[in-house]
């Protein structure tokens, strides 16, 4: 069964919107992933998130140097164009990407400006299994008290992310996706504290 460009993508969008409005809230897009009949070197949830948000009006970047085929496929499916990290509207991080590569990209990506803070990059990041049993404590808009979260982002990467969001409203918004087709979001407004780190 193929992806229904209208209904599957609407359902995935609402899950992403729900999670973006409620940082730390994990949503499942398992039902829609069952429609994915592509065999690509990325998670089905990554592909569905990209198909939901990308089109000819936006650009994307993939960190890895040896994913020409995936870049071509995503361009074909969404009509979005590939762009360098400092120009891309969406940044896609695959499981194979190294901490050093991601860290460098976090430093170089678009984060908007005070006049147009929306001209920033949105990240779609592949993570090991996401859970609410974790080392991160989230607070901020969308979080009623606090939320706990576990992602595969290291302490150094969260510190790099926090560095890019400290001049709010300038910042970046993150969508994490895992192999079990779960997604969770951490927008720029979220304060992320790491256990044992000040």
């Amino acid at each position: 069964m193929a992806i229904d460009q209208v209904h599957d993508l609407q359902q995935v969008y609402r899950k992403i919107l729900h999670s973006m409005s409620r940082p730390g809230t994990i949503s499942s897009i398992q039902k829609n992933v069952e429609s994915v009949d592509y065999n690509l070197p990325c998670y089905d949830a990554t592909l569905l998130s990209a198909m939901t948000l990308l089109d000819a009006e936006v650009t994307f970047h993939i960190l890895s140097d040896n994913q020409h085929d995936l870049i071509e496929k995503i361009s074909d499916y969404t009509l979005a164009r590939f762009a360098p990290i400092d120009k891309a509207d969406f940044v896609i991080v695959l499981r194979e990407d190294t901490e050093a590569t991601i860290q460098q990209a976090l430093e170089q990506c678009k984060d908007g400006n005070l006049i147009d803070p929306q001209q920033s990059s949105t990240w779609i990041i592949e993570s090991s299994l996401l859970s609410n049993n974790g080392e991160l404590t989230l607070t901020g808009p969308g979080v009623q008290h606090t939320a706990q979260l576990h992602t595969s982002f290291s302490t150094a990467l969260w510190q790099a992310r926090n560095e890019r969001t400290k001049e709010y409203p300038i910042g970046i918004d993150l969508i994490f996706a895992d192999e079990a087709s779960q997604i969770v979001c951490v927008p720029r407004t979220t304060s992320v504290k790491l256990m044992g780190v000040n």
């Binding site: 460009q5 919107l17 729900h18 409005s21 409620r22 948000l53 929306q118 969308g142 709010y168």
Partner: protein, 292 residues
């Protein structure tokens, strides 16, 4: 539904652009995200901004409620419901608690909204600083520099003139301690409902091409001075002549036979629910009474 029409009226490209704008709006609470507003088959100023949001987020399993100034059956609400229903087939409801998406003009329902609901508010004038500055690039700069002296000046002038802040509706709010935002022309009575709301609040202005949002559990403060605190419309000692509801937003009416001033719930579906409950309770009491 005709085969050639798109689900939810828009082509997928239009939806994606609006969906991306909504995501940024959620990530930057109270900030007005520009978007390429589309021409809609309803008159401008009749909620095209809200309608574009609703059409971009709605899915076939959603239940939709549309209200205009508290009423589900106004011409405006009916024409919006008709357009959405004809292009999506979604179920419509008047019951606030049964709706997944509530599109509203000038009110937030009396019943507390839930985590699973999204309220879409129609906005005629999204820029709270427009009264002090006509030029968009200047108001954008004021927001960027956190320069809200103009917003305070408007309130100060009202106090000088009327002895109180005279904003009948659309009283400006601070969102997440950062942006001053026009909450749309809701009465001041509804402003506290935006603060730490369980539901996601999306706002759309079609003519001005802006989308903005207040995520759930976000701090929202109405602008006020220490010596002139923010107050909501008071209905103390008054109640609805139909359902006897109090602590709700009441409309003032004149009883045509007696010429007296009477009050009625502005939120018609809330009033109907209460009247039904009152009838049921009365029937129950009568049934119980007949067994006594």
């Amino acid at each position: 539904m005709k085969a050639e029409t798109h689900f939810a009226f828009f082509d997928e490209g239009s939806k994606k652009e609006i969906r991306r704008a909504i995501m940024k709006a959620v990530a930057i609470p109270g900030y007005q995200v520009p978007f390429a507003s589309r021409e809609m088959p309803i008159a401008r100023g009749w909620g095209t901004g809200g309608l574009q949001i609703t059409l971009s987020i709605i899915g076939k399993s959603d239940v939709l409620k549309v209200i205009d100034q508290g009423a589900d059956e106004s011409v405006n609400a009916v024409s919006i419901k008709k357009l959405v229903h004809e292009t999506t087939g979604v179920e419509l409801t008047d019951r606030t608690e049964d709706a997944d998406i509530i599109q509203s003009r000038h009110r937030i329902p009396e019943i507390a909204l839930t985590k699973e609901q999204i309220i879409v508010l129609q906005v005629p004038t999204p820029e709270p600083l427009r009264g002090v500055e006509a030029r968009e690039y200047i108001t954008k700069r004021m927001h960027s520099e956190y320069d809200y002296s103009g917003a305070w000046l408007i309130l100060f002038e009202q106090i000088m003139k009327y002895g109180k802040t005279a904003t009948a509706a659309d009283h400006p709010v601070y969102v997440n301690h950062r942006y001053v935002m026009a909450p749309s022309p809701i009465p001041r009575f509804d402003n506290p409902k935006i603060h730490q709301s369980d539901a996601l609040i999306l706002l759309g202005a079609g003519r001005e091409k802006k989308i903005y949002a207040v995520p759930p559990y976000t701090n929202v403060e109405s602008l006020a001075f220490d010596d002139y605190p923010f107050t909501v419309e008071s209905f103390e000692g008054m109640h609805c002549h139909l359902c006897s509801g109090a602590d709700v937003f009441l409309d003032e009416l004149i009883d045509h036979t007696t010429g007296e001033t009477i009050y009625q719930c502005n939120d018609t579906s809330y009033c109907m629910e209460r009247m039904n409950e009152n009838v049921n309770e009365k029937e129950k009491a009568e049934v119980e009474g007949s067994y006594a």
